[in-house]
């Protein structure tokens, strides 16, 4: 403890400061480089700075139409998601419906189905010619051949499938808000003479209104930036959404400046809507949480309990059970035409995928490598950022919380455009390697991991760490001995969710992959363009099983708390 001079040094470069600073610089570079490049490319053309690219986006009908279609689709998905989510959330949060926990799990399992896989499953079910529903309709009625009941290759079809895999986000937000409305508020209204419906309209609805609007925004954004479903469904129908149009601009010869310019509306809309959502949830929800954490008295459904449950299960069959059934059916079809007439059950498709298809094993190897490395590096980065942000331990650390959340405001495909531009030139020539996919995946996954680990750190009493310090541990030692063991469940859960997110990522991978770096989702997308539905079903189910396994493990570990 020798002090050489009477003054103490104001700033000491210890290993903690170094790691924290590196983490902050890493996220700044990860987010900053692509955003700067994509913006720069949008405001230039092949000859230098210019507004020509943006002008083309504003005037070229083949670029305006996709934007219009995207906005219509997203708005419809937002509304329909809410229409499905509100009654379902109300039934589960506010009534004595049986198996409400199970229903919650089933709803959340729609998260697990990657949207592109859901879209493929709905091709099997509702393609105009060979879709099971249409074939069945033709057999049961006297509908002539080549006429159809439903056509999934259409704007309504796309809205329908998007809603199937989006409403869960709205459901979660609405159910959480309903869970938090203190029962007393509703009882108070009843005491003052309001009817049940009056209470719902005048008390409950206004209280959850911010959550309803917020969930519409989330659903809108989710649908707007999705590439998988339009990639599977819109292209055969002969129209583009913004994401597929951006993708098409990368087909030979690539028009990178136009693609960057076409990304700008997505970026601007996302940022504006997220700001709006922030305002909505920031203002009124706090007074809701202020109510005592009282148990909500549930409305009794009486004799209707079981019929209502049956109704819920029927609704949930559409996004979950029906597509799964279709995928399983096709995966095991042997002989026949593979969709309607499956011949007999057998392992032919599985043998083909894992025995003959040359791209299967490399794709799985790439996907698993990416999943593991993304989750490991990403969780480490999220831990560093979350620590710096919650403990305010470095100068300017208040900003870190904002910086870490920026990727959430950048649509994956826009990020991919930016990365494509940023990393196809020296000194960072990453295009064509797994490295570029890795950087993209880490960037995309960081915000949710940051939030998860951050909330665990906020729940940790700072005195636990200070105690380690005062007994002689350096800050890094204290983090290793005290912080990491105590937030381990959240760390593992964050790892698992990043892994799952990475192995099913398509929106960014579709622009960044090359033949050597193909992943399973990209392989599925390619096979779909060739109409190979059996192998797709096999790959999709395998991906689902890996995902399920990891999610189950994550839940088991995440649910456990240290004594």
């Amino acid at each position: 403890m020798s002090l050489r001079s009477p003054r103490l040094r104001r700033f000491q470069l210890d290993s903690f400061t170094a790691i924290g600073t590196l983490g902050v610089l890493a996220i700044l570079a990860l987010v900053g480089l692509p955003v700067v490049w994509v913006t720069g490319y949008a405001f230039s053309d092949d000859h230098g700075p210019s507004l020509a690219s943006l002008w083309q986006v504003a005037t070229d009908p083949t670029l305006i139409a996709p934007l219009g279609i995207t906005l219509v689709i997203s708005a419809c998905v937002a509304v329909f998601s809410l229409i499905v989510a509100i009654p379902l959330a109300w039934l589960i949060s506010r009534t004595d419906i049986p198996f409400s926990r199970t229903i919650r799990v089933v709803v959340l399992s729609t998260y697990v189905v990657p949207p592109f896989l859901g879209a493929v499953a709905w091709e099997l079910l509702a393609a105009p010619n060979a879709g099971l529903i249409n074939v069945l309709a033709r057999e049961l009625t006297d509908m002539p051949p080549f006429e159809y009941l439903v056509n999934i290759y259409s704007v309504p079809g796309l809205i329908f499938v998007d809603t199937c895999y989006t409403f869960a986000f709205a459901f979660t937000l609405v159910a959480t808000a309903l869970d938090r409305v203190p029962n007393e508020l509703e009882e108070a209204s009843a005491i003052f003479g309001a009817s049940r419906l009056g209470t719902l309209r005048q008390i409950t609805l206004p209280l959850v209104m911010p959550a309803l609007l917020a969930s519409m925004i989330v659903a809108f954004l989710h649908s707007m930036i999705e590439f998988g479903t339009p990639g599977v469904l819109a292209l055969p129908a002969g129209f583009h959404t913004v994401t597929t149009r951006i993708w098409s601009l990368f087909q030979y010869p690539p028009q990178t400046h136009i693609a960057a310019a076409a990304s700008m509306p997505l970026l601007v809309i996302t940022v504006l809507l997220l700001l709006a959502q922030n305002r909505l949830t920031g203002r009124r929800q706090i007074s809701l949480i202020g109510g005592k954490g009282q148990r909500v008295a549930k409305l009794s459904l009486g004799a209707l309990r079981w019929p209502v449950l049956a109704g819920c299960l029927l609704v949930l069959a559409i996004p979950v059970f029906l597509p799964l059934w279709a995928l399983i059916r096709v995966a095991f079809a042997t002989g026949g035409d593979g969709v309607v007439d499956i011949g007999h059950w057998g392992w032919d498709n599985w043998r083909f995928v894992f025995g003959e298809l040359s791209s299967t094993w490399p794709a799985f190897a790439n996907t698993l490598k990416l999943g593991i490395v993304t989750a490991t590096l990403g969780a480490a980065l999220a831990l560093v950022l979350a620590y710096v942000a919650t403990r305010r331990s470095l100068p300017g650390s208040g900003l870190v919380g904002i910086i870490a959340m920026i990727p959430a405001a950048i649509p994956s495909i826009v990020l991919a455009v930016g990365m494509f531009v940023a990393y196809t030139r020296p000194p960072l020539l990453l295009y064509g390697t797994l490295g570029i996919l890795l950087l993209a995946f880490i960037t995309i996954q960081t915000p949710s991991a940051f939030q998860q680990i951050g909330s665990a750190l906020r729940g940790l009493h700072p005195e636990l760490e200070e105690a380690a310090r005062i007994f002689g541990a350096t800050r890094l030692r204290a983090i290793a001995d005290v912080v990491i063991p105590l937030v381990r469940p959240s760390l593992i859960a964050a790892w698992c969710f990043m892994f799952v997110g990475a192995i099913r990522e398509l929106s960014a991978a579709i622009l960044l992959f090359t033949t050597d770096t193909e992943t399973v989702p990209v392989l599925i997308y390619d096979l779909n363009e060739g109409g190979r539905l059996g192998p797709i079903a096999v790959l999709g189910l395998t991906l689902l099983m890996v995902t399920m396994l990891v999610v189950i493990v994550a839940n088991l570990i995440g649910g456990r708390r240290p004594s």
Partner: protein
């Protein structure tokens, strides 16, 4: 030597002032209580001393060595200190023995020696039987004793305590207070003890530093502060003294209402108030004729019976109110007029 010296230490939180040029000397091997209401800066003082915070101005020295100065400080782990936290801060994922042994492990001690020192420390707080359990399996009082064992096992120069008893119930608190004092004496520690509870401070401390608004209001032995409060704040905070507004008359007398009051201590010449403790005022039935010295007529507003005594709330003719503790057999009716004598020896003239 571990004398602790704060010299003009200032700490700001945003725009509000946590410590305002605080100067304070904490003698070696003494148990000093930092006492004051919430927000007075006592916890800030302790955290600055531990090195968890860095001052904005001023120096902190321990045994002559500079530990903190404006914008810079020696890290907590390099200060040879120990601390007992308000939340105890026992690590839930480590056993009691691992908790207690942590500081020794950080000091690079050999496993065998750690084991023997830990069991010695646990024996000292009568907790040898829980060594292999986890903190979550212990009662609040047991956790507190583990925190104490963990703090003393490293034989620190300085022991810091941050409201260590506020989570315990009343009888456990008394027991722990004695325990802390015993270990302080046993190891010859320099102890700094933060509390808002004046009884805790009075019964434990060698020296009390009374803090108010980020400054030291008064520093001295418990008796000093109780008998010779230096300010209205000190008189009121310690022992709930009655404060009557006063104007100076001469060297020993002040005017209180319509009464010339003789003050046995304090500075009558610049007095603005007189302080007297409730149990030092004597009551007697009203009588006609001239009043005795230092005696005034008061109106009984309220009385309550505590078993050992009667607590009265009375009002003077000019509208000031006082609390008076009288013997339990002295009973006066609500609304009656009684005579209150303020013995000169217990009247203390105060300025500000």
């Amino acid at each position: 030597m571990a004398e602790i010296v704060f010299a003009g230490v200032t700490k700001r939180f945003g725009t509000s002032l946590g410590l305002d040029a605080l100067s304070l000397t904490i003698p070696d091997r003494a148990l000093t209580c930092l006492l004051g209401p919430s927000g007075c800066g006592k916890t800030t003082t302790l955290r600055l001393l531990a090195g968890f915070m860095t001052p904005d101005a001023g120096d902190i020295r321990i045994g002559g060595k500079l530990m903190s100065s404006a914008g810079a400080s020696v890290a907590p782990e390099r200060r040879d200190m120990s601390m007992i936290f308000q939340s105890y801060a026992l690590w839930p994922h480590r056993t009691i023995a691992q908790n207690v042994g942590y500081g020794l492990l950080q000091r690079g001690m050999r496993t065998a020696e750690i084991a023997s020192r830990v069991s010695e420390a646990l024996a000292l707080v009568q907790l040898s039987h829980v060594a292999s359990r986890y903190p979550g399996e212990l009662s609040g009082g047991q956790q507190q004793r583990v925190a104490l064992a963990r703090a003393v096992v490293v034989r620190p120069q300085t022991l810091l305590l941050d409201e260590p008893l506020s989570n315990l119930d009343a009888n456990l608190r008394e027991e722990m207070r004695a325990e802390i004092r015993r270990l302080h004496d046993l190891y010859g520690l320099t102890t700094v003890y933060v509390t808002h509870d004046q009884t805790e401070a009075m019964t434990t401390a060698d020296q009390i530093a009374l803090l108010n608004g980020g400054r030291v209001e008064q520093i001295g032995t418990p008796e000093d502060i109780y008998v010779r409060p230096a300010s209205i704040f000190a008189a009121r905070f310690i022992g709930n003294a009655n404060i009557l507004a006063a104007t100076p008359l001469d060297l020993h007398n002040v005017r209180v209402g319509d009464l010339a009051l003789s003050c046995g201590s304090g500075d009558a010449v610049s007095a603005t108030a007189v302080a007297i403790r409730p149990h030092q005022v004597r009551l007697q039935p009203d009588m006609s004729g001239p009043l005795p010295a230092n005696t005034l007529r008061v109106n009984v507003l309220r009385q309550s019976y505590t078993g050992m005594a009667r607590e009265y709330r009375v009002r003077t003719a000019w509208g000031e109110e006082m609390n008076i503790t009288a013997p339990d057999d002295q009973r006066f009716e609500f609304g009656s007029l009684v005579l209150a004598t303020l013995p000169a020896a217990h009247c203390r003239a105060l300025a500000g």
